[in-house]
């Protein structure tokens, strides 16, 4: 057990057999079929279908020793201009899901369809185009920028890579992006290096960089968790206004439920690689259906002096090991409402509580 973690390898790159066969198969014919699948609903920008991302464990460098089931069967559609939030604790698979969406990991099963085309079938050139359509806002703004580049160069880089040849156009776009993230006067900031900027300013530059290729979608990975309370709200409001203005689809990944309601229309709650609850934000906060969501909500503090007088109700134990996730519902070992013989044996399907409110919990059968 001890050095299992060291042996985790990115399985999706270790098994070219699977990946290439997939590619070969789809290149020949089913490509059309795929795009047909995406077509019926024009409004859907991206569709995640039965996504499984597993990482292979190796013993002594080779020899198979099981998989880490980081993402295990996630489904959702993302519409144009829609902001959704993925909420979960560390190790629930939300980062693996995000990286798969960014095209950094290949899923072992299932697919991501962007504008009718599966990521699995994309050629290198198409992937490059796809990445220009998806902006990425990193968690740690300072770590996300090259320390030896100034702001101008940092913002110019994506355009150089994606072939915006005209220097004047590049500068015009940089000016526009900087104005949009309210880094004005622009000239003052262009020659600055990241370490000369405050945390909030750094995050603005990262947002400007994500926006500079006019993407259709933004992926924001805990964009405000490294920032101070007073700046946090400012950055969230900025992101929200940009999303509205450019009709962007946004995937906002966070563990902090209290920032979610100001930002996203829908929330997905992830636990141990599964999306256990999907609902509109108001519905979820008002009427959480999954015991895990309830626990998350009650675990989130509000500033109130009475908190000091009471103990919080916290489910016992810790999230399960994803190498051998529990059978049935993965939350059952911690769940106070566990139904013996059902929850610990059968995987709960999604039950619909209200329109757009799906809960994977046997309590709603």
């Amino acid at each position: 057990m001890a050095n299992v973690e060291d042996n985790i390898k990115d399985v999706t790159q270790e098994i070219p057999v699977d990946a290439s066969t997939l590619e070969n198969v789809t290149l020949e014919g089913p490509l059309e079929a795929e795009s047909d699948k995406g077509k019926p609903n024009e409004d859907v920008l991206m569709s995640v279908q039965d996504l499984h991302v597993w990482f292979e464990l190796r013993r002594f460098g080779f020899g198979h020793a099981g998989y880490v089931h980081a993402v295990d069967g996630v489904n959702f559609d993302l519409h144009n201009g829609e902001a959704i939030a993925i909420v979960g604790e560390s190790g629930c698979g939300k980062s693996s899901l995000m990286k798969t969406i960014l095209g950094l990991y290949r899923p072992i099963k299932g697919q991501i369809v962007f504008q009718g085309k599966s990521l699995n079938d994309m050629t290198t050139r198409e992937l490059k185009w796809y990445r220009s359509q998806v902006g990425y806002i990193q968690q740690d703004p300072y770590g996300a920028m090259a320390p030896f580049m100034n702001v101008e160069r940092i913002l110019e880089e994506p355009m150089l890579i994606n072939g915006v040849r005209d220097k004047n156009e590049r500068m015009a776009r940089i000016r526009q992006a900087m104005t949009e993230v309210k880094m004005t006067p622009v000239e003052d900031f262009l020659p600055k290096f990241p370490h000369l900027l405050s945390g909030g300013q750094q995050q603005r530059i990262v947002i400007a960089r994500a926006m500079i290729l006019n993407p259709k979608m933004l992926v924001a990975d805990e964009p405000v968790s490294m920032l101070d309370a007073s700046v946090r709200v400012e950055i969230l409001k900025l992101l929200f206004s940009l999303q509205k203005k450019h009709n962007l689809a946004v995937i906002y990944i966070t563990h902090d439920l209290s920032t979610v309601r100001y930002f996203s229309r829908r929330i997905f709650v992830m636990y141990a690689g599964n999306a256990v609850e999907k609902a509109r934000t108001d519905d979820l906060l008002r009427n959480p259906g999954h015991p895990y969501t309830t626990a998350l909500l009650s675990g989130t503090s509000e500033p109130d002096a009475n908190n000091a007088k009471t103990f919080k109700v916290v489910p016992p134990g810790e999230p399960p090991n994803l190498i051998k996730p529990p059978a049935g519902c993965r939350y059952h070992p911690r769940c106070p409402y566990m139904i013996k013989g059902l929850c610990d044996e059968q995987v709960p399907p999604d039950f619909q509580l209200e329109p757009e409110h799906l809960v994977a919990c046997w309590l709603h059968k």
Binding site: S230, V233, H255, D256, Y262, A295, E302, P303, A305, A308
Partner: protein, 320 residues
């Protein structure tokens, strides 16, 4: 006996300035507050306001580039600032007060078993043998809710929450009266956070412990606070009881800070504070918050004294 009437900790005019190539950084600038037995005070502030330096100044865990370090720290009525470094180490640090450092979960030594580390302060300060120290560590593990067998594991075998609890057990093991917690839960998940605060509440009750909790997270700080002190640009601008502070903060900065907390319930939109905190290299004269303050008026050009308002103190001319 002065013990009964004296407060556990009283800090008067504490100053800690660092020497840098650009001049002196006034990280802790004339800080006053006190703390009673079995009381928890929360020091709230944004990054760079000097709150971690305050913890270092109280525990005398100082880096080398000190420009100025002065003031009085009375511990049970005795001014420990007069102690020599060695005397302070022997009699105060980890005996009377201990620290749970920032990112405590990563502060454990990876090559020592957790039990060895947790019992180490007992060996050094308690003057006991290995077995007895281990027994004490075992007792503390029970208090913080870590299974006993984890004593024989290494740090990497524990989850983040468990490591944080082990760090708290290490601070508890010599039975000090005061524990300083520097951002104890900032890197942890919601449920783990709630768990850690449950543990802290329980040991506060069971062991009659006092806490200084240093944090920027206003929402979770209310889980432990009896008293709240708000720090801005090296100074404490408001001290008051939690009950009234969380309902109605006095200082404009505290008010704006409370407004910036996103809430799960209720309909209020959070607001942000425009501008940035001043540099501690050259703090502005007069009130340090004046450039960002919506209630600024002429008087703010002069440094405000501390005004008392129904038992709460606030450093703002509005309460003159």
């Amino acid at each position: 006996m002065t013990m009964q009437t004296e407060k556990l900790l009283r800090i008067e005019n504490l100053v800690l300035h660092f020497k840098t190539s650009k001049g002196s950084v006034r990280a802790v600038d004339d800080v006053n507050f006190d703390l009673d037995f079995n009381e928890a005070v929360v020091i709230l502030g944004e990054s760079g306001c000097g709150k971690s330096s305050l913890a270092k100044a109280i525990l005398r865990l100082l880096p080398r580039n000190i420009q100025k370090y002065s003031g009085k720290v009375y511990l049970k009525g005795v001014d420990v600032m007069k102690y020599a470094d060695e005397e302070f180490r022997k009699n105060v640090r980890w005996v009377e007060m201990s620290l749970v450092p920032q990112a405590a979960m990563n502060s454990l030594n990876p090559v020592l078993k957790v039990g060895e580390q947790v019992s180490e302060p007992m060996l050094i300060h308690g003057g006991v043998g290995k077995d007895e120290a281990m027994a004490q560590a075992k007792k503390m593990f029970q208090h913080v809710g870590v299974p006993e067998e984890f004593l024989h594991r290494y740090a990497f075998e524990l989850s983040g929450g468990m490591r944080q609890r082990a760090a708290i057990a290490m601070a508890l093991v010599t039975a000090p009266d005061l524990i300083i917690l520097d951002e104890p839960t900032s890197a942890l998940d919601v449920l783990t956070q709630a768990n850690i605060f449950n543990v802290l509440k329980r040991i506060k009750h069971e062991l009659q412990m006092s806490f200084i909790l240093i944090t920027h997270d206003i929402a979770t700080s209310s889980e432990l606070a009896d008293t709240v002190a708000v720090m801005y640009a090296g100074q404490i601008v408001e001290v008051g009881d939690a009950e009234r502070f969380f309902k109605q903060p006095l200082h404009p900065y505290s008010y704006k800070l409370m407004k910036s907390v996103p809430r799960l319930r209720g309909t209020e939109e959070p607001e942000f504070i425009a501008g940035q905190p001043p540099s501690l290299l050259n703090p502005p004269t007069g009130c340090r918050f004046k450039d960002r303050c919506p209630k600024r008026f002429d008087k703010c050009e002069q440094e405000p004294p501390v005004f008392m308002q129904d038992g709460r103190s606030v450093k703002c001319w509005l309460y003159a």
